[in-house]
Symmetry: C2
Subunit: 507 residues, 2 copies
Amino acid sequence: MYEDRIKPRNLWAKVVTPEEAALHITDGMTVGMSGFTRAGEAKAVPMALAERGRRENFKITLLTGASLGNDLDKTLAEADVLARRMPFQADPALLKRINAGEVMFIDQHLSETVEQIRSRQLGPIDVAIIEAVMIKEDGSIVPTTSVGNSATFAMLAEKVIVEINLTLSPILEGMHDVYIPTRRPFRGPIPITNPRDRVGVPSIPLDPSRIAAVVISAKQDSCSTIVPPDDETRAIARHLSGFLEHEVAKARLSSSLAPLQAGIGSIANAVLHGFIDTDFHDLTMYSEVLQDSTFDLFDAGKLVFASGSSLTLSPERNAQVFGDVGRYKSRLVLRPQEISNHPEVIRRLGLIAINTALEADIYGNVNSTHVMGSQMMNGIGGSGDFARNASLSVFVTKSTAKGGRISSIVPFASHVDHCEHDVDLIVTEQGLADLRGLAPRERARVILANCVHPDYRDIIGDYMRDAERSTGGQTPHILERAFEMHQAFRDHGDMRRVGGDRATAAE
Amino acid sequence: MYEDRIKPRNLWAKVVTPEEAALHITDGMTVGMSGFTRAGEAKAVPMALAERGRRENFKITLLTGASLGNDLDKTLAEADVLARRMPFQADPALLKRINAGEVMFIDQHLSETVEQIRSRQLGPIDVAIIEAVMIKEDGSIVPTTSVGNSATFAMLAEKVIVEINLTLSPILEGMHDVYIPTRRPFRGPIPITNPRDRVGVPSIPLDPSRIAAVVISAKQDSCSTIVPPDDETRAIARHLSGFLEHEVAKARLSSSLAPLQAGIGSIANAVLHGFIDTDFHDLTMYSEVLQDSTFDLFDAGKLVFASGSSLTLSPERNAQVFGDVGRYKSRLVLRPQEISNHPEVIRRLGLIAINTALEADIYGNVNSTHVMGSQMMNGIGGSGDFARNASLSVFVTKSTAKGGRISSIVPFASHVDHCEHDVDLIVTEQGLADLRGLAPRERARVILANCVHPDYRDIIGDYMRDAERSTGGQTPHILERAFEMHQAFRDHGDMRRVGGDRATAAE
């Protein structure tokens, strides 16, 4: 059945059960696993590892590309196997343990993890577990629906476990482009000058003697949890499209725009989907996760090429795309996340980067990670790689959350992942704030006028006025009131209660 | 006298007084001036412009490389000529106006300004004023002690005014390397793979017909205001050297380390100077401002090559270096700040970046710019370009300021320029916190134990304990107490008064 997927015949003897393979992993080890945004994660071995974790007492440090599907982070967390986790995750059960301080979560820019391993500032990796469609004659492995950090994990790990996924066709071979920067100080430029450039090799180079075990699996990726566009995300898409049309009219952009990056999630997906209804054409993407919207744009004839590190699709799109991969394969490339997110390439190509803010402040500092400043939501992911280096850095968010009880725009971000210098546009369903070339006081006025929900305009306007009059400065703040909206939510369940409190106190 | 400095004879007729040249600048214009960290700024024309500003009512937007010498920012600010200023400045009189909201200051990553002009997101530049040692036969101009943004300003401005500085020898020709990335989407890699690589041309290409005026000046650069090492900066240097020796012992670095960047200022200068007393050898620098310490290291035989964007020296060093430029010229290169600070090159070379924090919080977020969250100190400068992309990002600071009344380590940074993901080490005279691979709660413990001044250990330790116990989370914070130390300073002139207040309230 599986022998045609394992070309080196001497590896056939290494085919074992997931349980046997998992025995290579012992207490205190650092494990590097494939998987990026619910795509291409090793599935059978980690599940067997969690199973063993329920009986035995051991802990590991788990590194991946990004988040995992198939409830793996949940299962591993509940089996109490995870001591440390990096560089990204998005599982509620694991988050609970992270926020309780039980699992140490090291939240990283997604382009940087393997740099730190390569320079031995992190690691070493004891065992790598990599999902593949096949092992080629030379021992190299063809990844599945993501590349993530798999190549570097496999190349630097002491032992490699390969999970052959039989549900995915070997036709995927050729869709990946594995390029690994050379070791410093002998490193040359990354020769990508166009999203479609292939500069590496189609499989992960590996000496077959380092393959400790091969496991056969038939589990599928989990599908994405994207929700379809709604009125608010459509309004966000419209504001951004209108702005970009204006930039084209001003000849600052061509009608093919610039290579697009869109963060994960429903809002960014809706924004990208919205480009179907514009006059932009011959678009390209140089992004991280390719979602449904990428294929919507392909099918609408708007998009000519997409580069990413993973494919994360809805059930329908998944069935359609993997049922007919040949239709898209020549227009797609999946790269290591170090390359999809590399500052060098992002800056060179001059991307338009569209990422989701959890919270933004009136000066344009953005929180992508921490609810109310303390509780981890998911992680920074690639947003920093893109926002810092793009030619146009856009953050999108609905102006409120929790039925209006939370404003996404606040006086002072309760956690800062992206400083004001990295944020060019903020877009909510209310409108768009173009912050380019503006000083902080000016930024605040534009954000207040264009992005803040009407329920919060007075509260935030009062803060701005009071801060300018009392403290003043480049970035006026009254520190004891900076988080008054957050405190109102904590104490009264509604950020709008700030004014009410003050009114009451004054009575 | 000056004719040998202006090779195209037809330009001799364009030699005018500074006052006449300044007439090219009128109300509402955007002016791009040479000058980076008190080095190589145009001197005569802006002074004449300020003089006119005292009599006439007009305002300009002023862009430079970085800060200016010769009190130019002060004089222009006091003449009320500046409406807008970017991307960096460091003058107290101008700062007063910036913090009062009278001058709009756009604080930028120093590598990014010209990208934004080139893509027409900023600008256009009406007039460029560039200091030069000479104009060559082909019209190209040889800069003086900095390159900064001069090349792009000159190449894109409507009109160019050249200030020939007779105090600097034409022997400077050949010290500069002017490389300008091509326009997107046709941009290739920047071919620098070693700090010593010269990849551009030695002078700024310019069609002589675009030179509107030439002015002759004999004013010198202002010297740096660096103070010599003291016990605390020597201790910081010792902690960092010891750490780097440990990294060499672990084979994570060679005994030539990696190309070094050091931010401007006395602490970074002292740290670099401290490398004289180590076993490191054949060091290189890929930095922004080359200060006295660069030449101390040259003279000690420790440093083999230094790349920067400007030379900013003490009076003694200035006299020595420019009295004998030939001695150093082959070991020095000055580049456009876009290149000295370019993410692509910084990441490729794997720099060790050493920058000064104004304030850091217990989780390793760093404030480089805002005193007490609102008042601009100077600007972010290149610190973000380097900290984000270096292989080792170090922030140094004395643990206290104002005679102990301010702690440089606080629970929550009152402004965040560098998020925790961009900060690997924090070093104070108390010790060094190695934050690599640590989660926020772990980072806080290491910073508290190693970096915080003993006077503040209890206050900060109490906050950490209370935040972990009450709010918890990935990054425990109690938002209403996050700025309690800042408030104590504001209300009582001493951050140590936090505990006192609470004790009093409890009585």
